[in-house]
Structures are given as structure tokens and as C-alpha cells.
Amino acid sequence: MTAAGWLIMIFGVGGMTALLGWCIYKVISTPGSTEHLHSQADIETPDTVDDR
């Protein structure tokens, strides 16, 4: 493995880990953020509610 390879690996893995860490920090430290954050998994489509 070359020096450039080590650098790319460290920056690639480190960068992604740091970005995820920052996002987690923002979610935890921002009051009320959990009420407005959403993902595909927690969005219930209205048609499923209608069908039940």
C-alpha cells in the first residue's frame, strides 16, 4: 500500500466518520430537532392509513 493509498483511506474513512459524528451532534444538541427530522422509514403514506 502506497503513502497516497494510506492518505486516501484516512481521509475517506475519517471524513465520512467525522461528517456522521457532526450530524449526530447536531441532532442531539438542537432542541426540538427530533420533531422535524424524517426519513422514508418513519413517513406513513396516507393511502395506508385509508386502507386500514
Binding site: 500500500m1 456522521l20 450530524c23 424524517h38 426519513s39 422509514a41 386502507d51
Partner: protein, 735 residues
């Protein structure tokens, strides 16, 4: 409409739950299986350059765009991509720009569910031995056995294998996955998947971290192949280029050849002229490798051994085999070989067969394990059995692929190599060959690597799919899209780069060698052939971790595949005015036909890889381009940034507007134009290239995509009629 998370006081559990739900919702097969395949295909570390650039300049900005565009369309009463485009542009025709919105997730679902079935099947095969249901994946130390297991499992050796009697388990597991997906979506239970994200997602990451720790401590587990070690495996994944200037003369140059070809055994030294000389112990593998990896013989020399003349009907190859000792000794055209690496051999390398006394069966069984089209087996008057094979080229190729060992005169081929700028010239037994090894910049100048990197970013972030645009249309106007999409992207990136990239490629390199990394079994297949060897190295806990990893990956895939169905369901409901259950039933029929197509044309996973390239890379790329142009230039960047800021939990930098309006579209259009000029003609030419006696799978795969596209255009036309009526009744003006 989505339900807000309630509770005036946010507990830690709530916050952690939200983080896990957001990061976990988009994690799937793209992170752990597709990314390593793409990185290996495009040179490892050099792929990371366009990958990171695409993440920052395309993935994140277009994720913001798609979330806010969907929320905007939802506020105007539209849930499907065509409807949202119509709302944003204010034009009827704009809905047709969104036709890829339902097409992409539906077509991707057709093969994604097949890969999902592999995960479930592998999880089952780890528990099967404990339930008395066969040996499953308890295959011992030989990595080739896991390779052979995968090929049999997915039917890689012949089309229609899954449909033949006893043709493998893939069809059974596909059926289970299909029924499970459509049951959940039919009953409207997909929200229960949120539970998975909160509990099983951390388990998957934890399991992956343990597997990663084992991979990084593997060292060089193959005693006879010390060069296959973890550091070299990491080097394949992360080194920016395998270019000559990185290499000292001698064995490193030979390693460079090895990187580009498929033979494993080579030793090199320097001579006084600065030329390296080497001995390769497997001349058949060299000849095959030269042909397969783009080497062109510059001077007519002695024909490489066992190379069939091009464009001539191959002669019938006569052979004999003796079962006098194990392993089987095979003689082909006077050249002797013996088999190893097949799962017929025990840990001592001895052949054990229930019907070992029946030589015909032995040969038939050996041949059945190889991708040989036909073989006749007959008895001769002696104790040896003779056989003939109509396609000796394929047979030799197959022998090489399964690790046959040459036991000829022991001298091997002798040759020299010379370094000519960015070319390595190889001389083998007086015949000279040259291969161009692209430099770092040459590799980066290939537009296809930029297209593929952008496609991978879009695939793993679910951007350009039409999925986010549909789901975000159900959000409230003041729900956050900025921190949500950034957190989802960061979770994806972490799983992909820090876990997928560090586990699968090094593991494949260590156990199966560089040839398996350079020629992965399909875009998704690499993890399936290499990870079982890692689990095998984990002792008694190996089967447990093998089961957990593949089962959790299966669950992650279920969350993704369920979300792929919603965009088309939304369009059916809007366009045809039918209910959810009728929409699900119709979609079930369409996707089932497509999945069966992909499963049937399983030889070399050609249908899967073809559809994955044209839809999973090209169509997603086009859809993302359309979205960012509409957002930046039709909706307008001022309105667009206001939309993004609405309800945002973080303040996005203002430069984002500039990136969305100028940088992303120019980037996307420039790369696409270069790809279209340089690579598209070759891709289109490949459509017409069909191996003799084989079905035109590439053309049929493109036909499948076109048929589905026409289907959705018809639905959009019908939807426009309904939307026109709806608008005219609201405004009192005829459309």
C-alpha cells in the same frame, strides 16, 4: 400525512431513535455489496476521487433538492415524480420529464429483490447444518468452494439454472422475499420497518465492525500465497493507481501484470539490463489472461500454448483421465493437469465421491461443475475413460477459473518484461505482448469512472430514484429536509466507505487473489464469494456471525426494496384513480415478470448487470440531472433556497445555491456528454454482440427497460387527463 414525533421533552432514547431511523433508512445493499464491486471495477483508490467529488457536488446538493422538491409538490397535492414535476414547472408536459421517477425504482426492484434473496439464502445456509438440512455454507477452508457455491446458488454458469430441476435455492428465496415484500406493502405495514432501523440497524453496524476487525487482523491466511495479505488488499482498494511509476523493477512490475491479469504465481528478479525476468508456473493461465485482459501480441511469435485460433471452429479436444489416485489426473492434448479447489475435494485435497467407483459419473460431475456447454462421456476399452468436449476454449477457461494446477515439465514459461513509459511489454517464450497501464491522470480522464461514481452516490443515497421525491411529498411544509438528508447521507457514506470498502475488497483479495477482485462475479457478487471465508476464520462463532450479517443485510435490503415500490404505487393511485391494494397487485405483476427475467438470464449475471448499468447508473444519472436543472433554473434558485431553509434545523451555506444552479448541472452534463461521445458507441455496439448459441441478453434487457418505460408513459398520460380535470374543476377553466 406523516405523524410528528410527539413529546414536549425529548428523551435521549427519542433522539437516538431518530438518528438511527434517519441514518438507517437508506442503508442497504448498495453500501455493503454494490460499492465494493464498483470500486474494484474502476481501479480501487482512484475511484474514490470522483466518488468524493460526486458526494460533495452532486449527492448532497441533489439530495437537498429532491427532498425539498417533493415537499413542495406534496403541498400542491402531488405525490408522484411526474406530478411533482408538473407542480414545480407549472406545465403539463413537465410530467413526462418525471417518467424515470417510477421507472427507476421499479426496474431496480426487479433485480434488487434477487440480491435480497441471496442474502436470505446465505443466512439460511449458515443455520442449515444445525437444522440437519445439508452442509449449507459449512464448506471448510478452501475459498474456491465458496466461489463455486455462489456460482451454483445464483446460476451463474448457465441461463435458466434456477428453473431447472434441482437448479438451486435462489428461486425459493426469491419467492419468499417477493411474498414478504408485497405482503408488507399490501397490508400497509411498511412503517413497522421503522422498528428495524432503530434496533436492527445498530446490530448490523456492530456486526460489520466485528467482521471488519477480523478482516484487518487476517494477515496472510493462505500460507502458499503470502502476497495475498491484508495490507496488499487495502492497497488494491485505496491506492490511487496501479501505475508503473509506483513500481520498482522486478517483482513489483510482475505484480502489476498480475493486477491486470489472472495468474497468481510469479516471481521476479532484476538483470543487468534493468529488465526483469520472471517465471510463471501456469502457462495456460497466462495465455488465458493475456487474451482476457486486453493484451495484444505485437509480434507474431509462437502461439501461446492452448490458445484456440480466433474465428475458427474450435477443434474437438480429446482427453483422458485417470482416477488412479486423488486428486484426479486429467490429460488434455498431452498436457496434464489435476483438479483442485472443487468442493468434491476434502480438506486433504482428496476426491471423495459417493459414487467414486463410477468414473463416468466422476467425469460427468466434474464437467457439470464447469461452464462447459456440452460434453460426451464414453467408455474406451481400457480402464481409462475418454471424453470429448466441443468447446475446448471454454473448458480451458473453466479449468483456470476453478484453480487447476499445471503439472507439465515444471519449467513454466520464461519471459522478460520491459517498462516503456506507461506500458509494460511482456515477452513470453519469444512472443511479445504489451499492455497499457493507465496512469493516475489517464484513469481519471475516463468519463465512465465519473459517471459510475456519480451513479454509485445516487444509488446509495437513493437520490435520483424518485423515491425521496415521493416520500417527502407526504411531509409537512415546516418539516426539516436539510439535517434529515445530510444525516441520511452521512450514515450511508460511513457504512459504504468505512465498512463496505474496508471489508469486502480486502477480504476478497486475501482469500481469492487479485483475479477475483479484478473480475468480480457481477456488481453485487463480491461479498458473497469472499465473506464466507472471513466467517470461516472466526472459528466456532463464524456461522453465527455469518447468519447475523447476511440476515441483517437482508432486513436492510427489505427496507430499501419496500421504499422502491411506493413511487409507482403513488403514480397508479394518482393516474388511474385506483386504490392502494389494486395498485400493489398491478405492481406485483409487473415486477414479478421483470424479476423472473433477471433470474432466468443468470449466466454471468448478465441481465442483472446490464439492467443495473442502464437503470442503476445511467437512468438515475439522467433523472438527477433533470431534477437539479428544474430546481435551479425553473423553480429558481432564490425560491429554491427559501424552500430548503423552510423548517431547516441547520443553516445551509449560501454557496449551495451556486452549486445547485451552476456546478452540479455543468458537472453532470459535461461528464454525460464525454461519456456519450467516448463510451456510449461501445456500449451500444455491445448490444448487438451475441455469443454464438446464446440469447441476446443485453438487447433483451434493454427491451425490458423500454417496455416498462412505455407502460409508465401511458400511465402518465392517463394521470395528466385526471390532473387536467381536477385543475379545471378547481379553477373553472378548461385545460
Amino acid at each position: 400525512m406523516s405523524q410528528p414525533l410527539t413529546g414536549s421533552k425529548e428523551s435521549w432514547a427519542t433522539r437516538v431513535g431518530v438518528i438511527l431511523a434517519v441514518t438507517g433508512s437508506a442503508v442497504g445493499l448498495g453500501n455493503f455489496l454494490r460499492f465494493p464491486g464498483m470500486a474494484a471495477q474502476y481501479g480501487g483508490g482512484v475511484f474514490m476521487i470522483p466518488y468524493v467529488v460526486a458526494f460533495l457536488l452532486l449527492g448532497l446538493p441533489i439530495a437537498f433538492v429532491e427532498w425539498s422538491m417533493g415537499r413542495y409538490g406534496g403541498a400542491h397535492g402531488y405525490n408522484s415524480a411526474p406530478g411533482v414535476f408538473r407542480a414545480v414547472c407549472g406545465r403539463r408536459w413537465a410530467s413526462y420529464l418525471g417518467m424515470l421517477g417510477p421507472l427507476i425504482p421499479v426496474v431496480i426492484y426487479m433485480y434488487y429483490v434477487f440480491v435480497e434473496a441471496w442474502c436470505l439464502g446465505y443466512a439460511w445456509n449458515y443455520v442449515a447444518p444445525y437444522l440437519g438440512a445439508g452442509t449449507g455454507l459449512d464448506l471448510g477452508d478452501n475459498p474456491e468452494k465458496y466461489n463455486a457455491f455462489f456460482e451454483r446458488f445464483v446460476g451463474m454458469n448457465e441461463h435458466g439454472t434456477a428453473f431447472s430441476p434441482g437448479g438451486g435455492q435462489a428461486l425459493i428465496f426469491l419467492g419468499i422475499c417477493f411474498v414478504l415484500n408485497f405482503y408488507l406493502i399490501y397490508r400497509g405495514l411498511q412503517k413497522g420497518i421503522e422498528w428495524f432501523c432503530k434496533f436492527a440497524m445498530p446490530a448490523l453496524v456492530l456486526c460489520a465492525l466485528i467482521v471488519l476487525a477480523r478482516v484487518l487482523t487476517l494477515g496472510a491466511p493462505m500460507p502458499d500465497k503470502p502476497e495475498q495479505n491484508v495490507v496488499n488488499g487495502l492497497g488494491y482498494m485505496w491506492n490511487p493507481a496501479h501505475q508503473p511509476e509506483n513500481l520498482a523493477p522486478g517483482d513489483k512490475a510482475v505484480q502489476a501484470l498480475v493486477y491486470r491479469s489472472t495468474f497468481d504465481a510469479a516471481s521476479g528478479t532484476d538483470d543487468a539490463d534493468g529488465l526483469g525476468s520472471f517465471t510463471i508456473e501456469n502457462p495456460q493461465a497466462v495465455a488465458w489472461a493475456l487474451d482476457q485482459t486486453g493484451w495484444k501480441r505485437r509480434q507474431p511469435g509462437r502461439k501461446p500454448p492452448d490458445t484456440a485460433p480466433a474465428n475458427e471452429p474450435p477443434p474437438v479436444l480429446a482427453g483422458r483421465y485417470a482416477n488412479r489416485e486423488s486428486p484426479i489426473l486429467l490429460t488434455i492434448d498431452g498436457d496434464q493437469a489435476r483438479f483442485r479447489g472443487l468442493d468434491l475435494l476434502d480438506s486433504g485435497g482428496r476426491l471423495t465421491l459417493d459414487n467414486a467407483g463410477d468414473e463416468d459419473e466422476t467425469v460427468a460431475k466434474l464437467l457439470a461443475m464447469l461452464p462447459v456447454d456440452s460434453a460426451g462421456v464414453e467408455r474406451d476399452e481400457k480402464t481409462l475413460r475418454a471424453f470429448s468436449i466441443r468447446r475446448p476454449g471454454a473448458f480451458r477457461e473453466a479449468l483456470g477459473a476453478v484453480g487447476w494446477e499445471h503439472v507439465g515439465d515444471g519449467k513454466g514459461l520464461r519471459g522478460r518484461w520491459q517498462h516503456e513509459e506507461s506500458r509494460l511489454v511482456l515477452e513470453v517464450d519469444g512472443s511479445e505482448a504489451a499492455v497499457s497501464i493507465p496512469t493516475f491522470l489517464e484513469t481519471l480522464s475516463n468519463p465512465e469512472i465519473w459517471l459510475a461514481a456519480a451513479g454509485q452516490i445516487f444509488f446509495s443515497l437513493s437520490v435520483g430514484f424518485g423515491i425521496i421525491i415521493t416520500y417527502s411529498s407526504y411531509m409537512r411544509r415546516d418539516d426539516d429536509v436539510a439535517l434529515s438528508s445530510l444525516t441520511a447521507a452521512a450514515g450511508n457514506g460511513f457504512c459504504e466507505v468505512a465498512l463496505g470498502g474496508l471489508i469486502v475488497i480486502p477480504a476478497t483479495f486475501v482469500f481469492l487473489g487479485v483475479s477475483a477482485v479484478a473480475n468480480p462475479p457481477g456488481t453485487f457478487g463480491m461479498g458473497f464469494v469472499s465473506l464466507p471465508s472471513v466467517f470461516n476464520q472466526m472459528g466456532d462463532l463464524g456461522p453465527l456471525f455469518g447468519f447475523l450479517f447476511f440476515f441483517l443485510l437482508f432486513l436492510a435490503a427489505v427496507t430499501s426494496s419496500l421504499s422502491m415500490l411506493q413511487p409507482a404505487i403513488a403514480l397508479f393511485e394518482e393516474g388511474l384513480g385506483i386504490g392502494r391494494k389494486a395498485s400493489v397487485a398491478m405492481l406485483g405483476f409487473v415486477t414479478l415478470m421483470g424479476s423472473l427475467f433477471v433470474v432466468y438470464f443468470s449466466k454471468g449475471l448478465l441481465a442483472l448487470d446490464t439492467v443495473d448499468f442502464w437503470v442503476g447508473a445511467v437512468c438515475i444519472y439522467i433523472m438527477a440531472t433533470i431534477q437539479v436543472i428544474i430546481y435551479g433554473w425553473v423553480l429558481g434558485i432564490d425560491r429554491g433556497m427559501k424552500e430548503l431553509d423552510r423548517g431547516a434545523e441547520i443553516r445551509l451555506p449560501r454557496i449551495l445555491g451556486f452549486i445547485i444552479k451552476f456546478v452540479s448541472p455543468v458537472y453532470l452534463l459535461a461528464v454525460f456528454a464525454m461519456w456519450a461521445v467516448n463510451k456510449l458507441p461501445g456500449r451500444l455496439k455491445a448490444v448487438g454482440q451475441v455469443e454464438e448459441g446464446q440469447p441476446p441478453v443485453v438487447a433483451l434487457s434493454l427491451g425490458l427497460i423500454v417496455v416498462v418505460l412505455i407502460f409508465f408513459v401511458l400511465i402518465i398520460t392517463r394521470a395528466n387527463q385526471r390532473w387536467d380535470k381536477q385543475e379545471s374543476s378547481e379553477t373553472g377553466v378548461s385545460p
